[in-house]
């Protein structure tokens, strides 16, 4: 270990045993009985051998981390990105000593504090004041340290009026603000953070991001997992891309994000088709209904009637929204050769905050052929705080689409 390396992972691996339910579970009563007896025998055998019980009919080994190698220098602020299930959180759990690696080793130099959740250990029956001490101690602060920073913490959270109220009476916003305020005043040498900036309203998020920037600026080593590309870009110097349990790319943060973006596009669309299209600008417009304004240039398709389709996919690969001009029975868009550029406005009222991939397609109305296709970079969509009856379509919602209003001008 060189003198300024603070974390070094060598051949790190973490295996879990997961169980599956067989699909045709309850075909006949006899099958159910046989399967239950089998499971019982296996459970008893495992217990006799001191192994853990795994629910399910079939067992499978699953490597959440496999052969991960990296080195982190003192003062580095490292963003860890990747799809859901790529192993980011498992990596953080290993680094913060919550779970033991199955193979390989990690060397860590310095005091590690991990922030995998805001408000770890908060007790609903205790008051805000008591919870500050409780949570602080759990995160590794000493009593003296908490005493010293208590006023600052309360100030940051903005809940001083309710400090002696049990936190079960808090609104969820107050609760996370107090919880984050404690966490933000940790002063470890190495800070490990998992997606905790995604709390509170937009204003509080800005405050959190600012606080994180302060922490990063003080020469501390920070490991930061987030799906928020904007936050990663503004906070981190370098990046690690996790993919299927291993580090697929390690480098400067911009390079890592570029690599990730290219890979996502390649895996989804098999590369671009070279129709000469390029994006001039993408802006997210938050006034009124949030909308995505896209200016496209270099359109070299023959004059004719076209339908423009927009597809939204979440970074985890789920189809989320679809919008179209023309199509769905209405008249297509007349495009002549001289209209080389075009402004599209895609309204995004129902989206949850996430990273989205956007694909635009030009479809010939007569032949139904796709004559041009354009994959936009990932767009990091941060909707304004929801009020009243609005409900976001969650990115984990699974299947299904929202129809998005789209408009075009030339």
């Amino acid at each position: 270990m060189t003198s300024d390396t603070v974390i070094r992972a060598e051949g790190l691996g973490k295996k879990y045993i997961i169980g599956h339910q067989t699909a045709d579970r309850s075909t006949t009563f006899r099958d159910v009985i046989t399967q239950n007896v089998k499971n019982f025998v296996r459970g008893a055998k495992d217990m006799a051998q001191g192994k853990a019980i795994v629910a399910g009919d079939e067992l499978e080994e699953f490597w959440a981390l496999k052969d991960v190698n990296f080195e982190i220098k003192r003062g580095d602020v490292v963003g860890i990105i990747g799809r859901n299930g790529a192993g980011k959180s498992t990596l953080l759990k290993v680094l913060s000593r919550i779970t033991e690696p199955t193979e390989g080793r990690v060397e860590i130099k310095g005091r590690v504090a991990s922030l995998l959740e805001v408000g770890t250990g908060f007790h609903p029956e205790l008051s805000g004041r008591e919870n500050v001490y409780l949570n602080g101690a759990i995160l590794g602060m000493t009593r003296a340290e908490i005493n010293r920073k208590f006023d600052e913490i309360v100030d940051f959270s903005g809940v001083e009026k309710f400090l002696d109220t049990p936190v079960k009476r808090y609104s969820s916003g107050m609760y996370v603000r107090l919880a984050f305020a404690v966490a933000a005043h940790l002063e470890p040498e190495i800070l490990v953070v998992d997606e905790v900036l995604a709390v509170g309203d937009a204003e509080f998020q800005k405050k959190c991001l600012g606080k994180m920037q302060d922490v990063a600026g003080q020469g501390r080593t920070v490991l930061f997992v987030s799906h928020n590309i904007g936050a990663i870009k503004s906070l981190c110097k370098s990046g690690i891309l996790m993919q299927n349990g291993s580090a697929a790319f390690i480098g400067q943060v911009q390079d890592t994000l570029d690599f990730y973006g290219r890979q996502l596009n390649a895996s989804r669309h098999g590369g671009s088709d070279g129709s000469g299209l390029r994006v001039e600008s993408i802006t997210l417009d938050y006034n009124g209904t949030p909308a995505l304004d896209i200016r496209v240039d270099g359109l070299s398709i023959p004059t004719g009637r076209y339908e423009i389709r927009a597809f939204l996919t979440s970074a985890s690969g789920t189809a989320v929204g679809v919008g179209s001009v023309g199509g769905f029975g209405s008249k297509g868009l007349e495009i002549s050769v001289k209209n080389q550029s075009l402004n599209l406005s895609l309204q995004l009222p129902n989206l949850a905050r996430d990273i989205y991939l956007i694909t635009l397609e030009w479809v010939d109305e007569a032949t139904h052929n796709v004559v041009a296709r354009l994959n936009l970079d990932e767009v990091d969509f941060l909707p304004p705080p929801l009020t009243g009856e609005n409900h976001a379509l969650d990115s984990s919602w699974g299947s299904g689409f929202v129809r998005l209003p789209i408009s075009v001008s030339m």
């Binding site: 270990m1 003198s3 879990y16 217990m47 853990a52 019980i53 759990k93 290993v94 680094l95 913060s96 000593r97 919550i98 779970t99 033991e100 690696p101 199955t102 193979e103 390989g104 080793r105 990690v106 060397e107 860590i108 130099k109 310095g110 005091r111 590690v112 504090a113 991990s114 995998l116 959740e117 770890t120 250990g121 007790h123 029956e125 205790l126 008591e130 001490y133 409780l134 101690a137 759990i138 995160l139 590794g140 000493t142 009593r143 470890p188």
Partner: protein
């Protein structure tokens, strides 16, 4: 969080600055300075114990009075059933209620620690899955609640003694030693049950059964002198027998004689379970987070 010293790394002079010690995480690696690590987490221990005590009687109407009512009613029933109906003898001249109470104090201490600590890892699973600390803190901190209840019940016993005009003698000064013995006797099995409970939730159903059963096989409602002499050594295999006998000896003055061979055997059983408990716990604590 704390710093870890890897003696090997230290010897090779790899750690360059005095505060920068290297922590190595590897499969199956046992930490060499586990106990000093535990000591550096004493503030967390204190605050978790305080949390359990503070929360114990929140949102109850009569609050800490529960710590009085439970042993008081049990004492009355035992005195009626064993003393009045079954006409079992007390220890020497000690009034039967005082004798029962002196046995119930350590029994409640033992059984509360056992059931609280055995469940503590599961009830604190949210912490264990999110933050590192030596896991031994959780079951030991939860036993502090039992000590607070014990203190309340002890005041009840003193009141009862004054009421019945029975006063202890110098032996009461040795009581802290036997309190410690009761805690250690409970912690051994509790640590085994706690670590097993994480893996096999079957133990959640077993623990209340052990507690219920244990109350009748231990000399809580009767004096252990009623056990036939030829069975007494075997009877002392139950570690609680030694603890209760010790308590009665302290609290009832010279009225209760300690059966020394049995007491020694109880001590050995307590030490064995404590050793086994710590060993089991330490062997499994690194996997706890994966099992919730």
């Amino acid at each position: 969080m704390t710093e870890q010293v890897s003696p090997a790394a230290h010897a090779e002079g790899i750690a360059t600055e005095k505060s920068q010690r290297i922590l190595i995480l590897e499969a199956g690696r046992t930490e060499r300075n586990y106990w000093s690590d535990l000591w550096s987490y004493r503030e967390l221990f204190a605050i978790l114990a305080w949390r359990d005590v503070a929360v114990q009687y929140k949102q109850t109407v009569i609050g800490v009075a529960w710590a009085v009512i439970r042993p008081l009613l049990t004492m009355i029933i035992f005195t009626v059933v064993f003393g009045t109906l079954a006409k079992l003898p007390s220890e020497g001249t000690a009034p039967y209620p005082v004798m029962v109470m002196a046995g119930m104090l350590p029994w409640f201490l033992f059984s509360t620690i056992l059931s609280q600590a055995a469940n503590s890892l599961v009830t604190n699973s949210n912490l264990i899955g999110k933050v590192y600390f030596p896991r031994l803190i959780v079951p030991t901190a939860s036993s502090i609640v039992a000590l607070v209840d014990f203190a309340v019940t002890f005041v009840l016993l003193l009141g009862l003694m004054v009421l019945l005009g029975f006063f202890p003698s110098w032996q009461i000064l040795l009581l802290p030693l036997f309190i410690l013995l009761a805690v250690l006797a409970a912690l051994g099995p509790a640590l085994i049950l706690a670590s097993l409970n994480v893996r096999y939730r079957d133990f959640r159903f077993i623990v209340p059964f052990i507690v219920q059963f244990g109350m009748y096989v231990s000399p809580v409602g009767f004096a252990s002198s009623v056990v036939p002499d030829n069975l007494r050594l075997i009877y002392s295999m139950n570690p609680v027998v030694g603890v209760i006998d010790g308590f009665r000896w302290c609290l009832l003055g010279g009225e209760a004689e300690i059966y020394w061979p049995g007491f020694a055997l109880s001590l050995i059983v307590v030490a064995f379970f404590l050793w086994l408990g710590i060993r089991t716990f330490r062997a499994t604590e690194k996997t706890f987070a994966d099992l919730f």
